[in-house]
Symmetry: C2
Subunit: 217 residues, 2 copies
């Protein structure tokens, strides 16, 4: 069997295959089935690598998934922090936040597609992980809202409720936007407008709220 292999196509660079595998998975998720119905061989083929090479980087497909999730959220958290820091007042704030957020979504389409499909369709651990991140955003937003002067009389529970309303709405709109064609600029812009209006509407309601509101108008 000692046959001389005439230099098959090789991939020299250091940790490039690992990234290739992640990108391949992301690509496949973006234009095909959800991650859970993705086979190891499919991913390696897409990455231009032999199946067994997979194990050099991930023990398992689910390990790949977790890594992908981590990668998706690391930069997202970064961006969120920046959004929270730029302290624009009032109206400008909502509009500004929505704009930067949605541009970020557009620039990281595959990641969001991945997360979006895993939120409800993924494995239990996957869903749990995503949900944890979202709950984090909700808490942070609640903290920000607590500083609004007209919300001093609102208790913590209701603050959480309001924040989760905002976050859930933005998430839903994001998922709807991902359903649009990648270069449907008009549609995407429409989503942005809608998101801004919805959040503004919620803030109108928030301004009206009293935590001890009795069950009648």
């Amino acid at each position: 069997m000692s046959r001389e292999t005439p230099t098959r196509g090789r991939r020299p660079k250091r940790g490039r295959t690992r990234q290739a595998l992640m990108d391949a998975a992301l690509d496949l998720v973006a234009k095909k089935a959800p991650f859970s119905s993705l086979s190891l061989r499919e991913v390696t083929k897409r990455a231009g690598v032999v199946p067994t090479a997979f194990y050099r980087h991930f023990s398992d497909m689910s390990a790949l998934g977790l890594t992908l999730l981590d990668e998706s959220f690391r930069t997202l958290r970064q961006m969120m922090r920046e959004v929270r820091q730029q302290e624009l007042p009032n109206e400008r704030m909502i509009r500004g936040s929505m704009e930067t957020f949605f541009t970020y979504v557009r620039n990281n389409r595959t990641h969001f597609l991945f997360v979006s499909k895993e939120l409800y369709g993924g494995s239990a651990t996957m869903r749990q992980a995503i949900r944890r991140e979202i709950r984090l955003f909700v808490s942070e937003l609640a903290m920000d809202m607590a500083r609004f002067p007209f919300l001093v009389r609102v208790n913590a529970e209701d603050l959480q409720m309001m924040a989760s309303l905002v976050v859930n709405s933005v998430v839903a709109l994001t998922q709807e936007m991902l359903e649009l064609d990648e270069d449907d600029d008009a549609g995407q812009h429409e989503m942005l407008i809608m998101a801004e209006k919805q959040v503004r509407l919620i803030y109108f309601g928030v301004a009206q709220w009293r935590s001890d509101t009795p069950p009648r108008t």
Copy 2:
């Protein structure tokens, strides 16, 4: 171990296997992976039928999926119609609607689990079908809202926006509730309370809205 089935185990009744297949798929989705990562053989095994028997009822797994979707929404639409008709005024209306809706969700857990996972994780046609149904609910709600006296000055587009905000929020809460353990009564009730509060909050905002609201508070 030999039950009262002397010859080969058979299923006599007319169209029972068809339903058994649907139930099996629903069960598997409820306690395992999403529908897309479900194999034909798995479903038939669960239904207690030989794999090839599948083709007597469905041409394909995706055909099964579409049928399941239809079954899920048919009764849902029915219920929605009833909710819309019971004309309770004001505060009572929100609470009442939420209660009947969420009890319905509890009583049809597997169906909702299925739809929830398919909304973003399913095939393109599947997602599209679900989205169409949701849009229908939004339109109907918008029509209902148009009759509110304090909304006469709101244009159609904004009405749609408001309705979709309500629906999206309820959908999100529903999905969150499905994540809870089946017999976590406390958690489920908490979700109901939250849903009612969120919708009420939105209505506060709605009451404040003017379609020509300039970009300032």
